[in-house]
Symmetry: C2
Subunit: 191 residues, 2 copies
């Protein structure tokens, strides 16, 4: 019983994802990518006609994977603060893995340089995050805050966490992320 060889298309997506998280969409090269996969750059175009389609597919799968992980957390009977800690932990772990960033964050910075099909997926990623956070925030809301307020609170947490990752990276100091997130909890932005 031999291992099934990894599908070339999946291999392309895997390598590309790690590269973009480390170096951004602009830092992804078809020639380098092809070399890592073991084909020629023109062959990458067979699977993904343009860089935009590759980036879009990449971001789409990223959102689905992360969304599935987050939804899995909801079935474990964790309380609100435990769920939010798991959430912020993911962004810390990404940073720990070779100083990589959230795909949605790094691509948001590159917004104006992205093809529309990638911009759409970056939007969808933020939407998924905000939806999930709003669900978690609703757990402890006893009819006090309106749905719009909860959603805005969710969006603010998402933005603050992305910013913590961004600044931590800009200062080349992973510890900064954890300190900032701890302060978010102290000030009450994070329940």
């Amino acid at each position: 019983m031999s291992e099934a060889p990894a599908d070339t298309k999946q291999k392309i997506l895997d390598v590309a994802r790690v590269t973009v998280q480390a170096r951004g969409y602009a830092g992804l090269s078809f020639r380098e990518l092809a070399k890592a996969v073991g084909i020629k750059s023109s062959s990458v175009h067979y699977y993904f006609p343009s860089k935009g389609e590759l980036g879009g597919a990449l971001a789409h799968r990223y959102t689905d994977d992360f969304g599935a992980y987050l939804d899995g957390l909801l079935t474990q009977g964790l309380d609100q603060s435990a769920l939010l800690r798991k959430y912020t932990d993911v962004f810390r772990d990404t940073l720990r893995n070779e100083n990589r960033m959230c795909l949605g964050g790094i691509m948001a910075a590159e917004h104006t340089e992205l093809p529309v099909e990638v911009q759409t997926e970056v939007f969808r990623f933020s939407e998924m995050n905000i939806d999930w956070l709003a669900r978690v925030l609703s757990m402890k809301n006893k009819g006090k805050a309106s749905e719009a307020t909860i959603r805005l609170h969710a969006m603010s947490i998402f933005a603050a966490v992305e910013g913590a990752q961004l600044v931590s990276r800009g200062r080349d100091d992973i510890a900064v992320y954890e300190n900032i997130v701890a302060m978010y909890r102290t000030t009450g932005l994070l329940p």
Copy 2:
């Protein structure tokens, strides 16, 4: 009395700054830049031998200019909350001007792709912001919080504001920035 013609070196820095804020360091092209200034791309190298030196000079001046503006605010007798509002307003105005981002934020996302001399300046920019915010936070601190706590609070505000700009851009909706910052005030992250 004729206008003194703008110094070529300054013109390069001016055009480059706007371009990087809109499209990132990776989105800055020597050939496009040269065309906008009215010289050839090889001539840009006469003033800035490498793209890294141009980026470094750019970020350095950006930090100095913004620092001078912020220090100017301190001499106007404004109270803490007014100062912090002026601070968050700057990032909103940048976003309004053709959806541009803070140079320090967009470059932080590109961190791994930047030459060291640019990384150094991105660090210096964050340092300047944190220092200024810590001074403003100290205005109302009656010996309750330690200096380290104030500094961490300052860093958290900086990160959160950068994140608000990032997410606002990723969602292609400038109004998002103001809503998020308002929520930062509601939750108490911003005094």
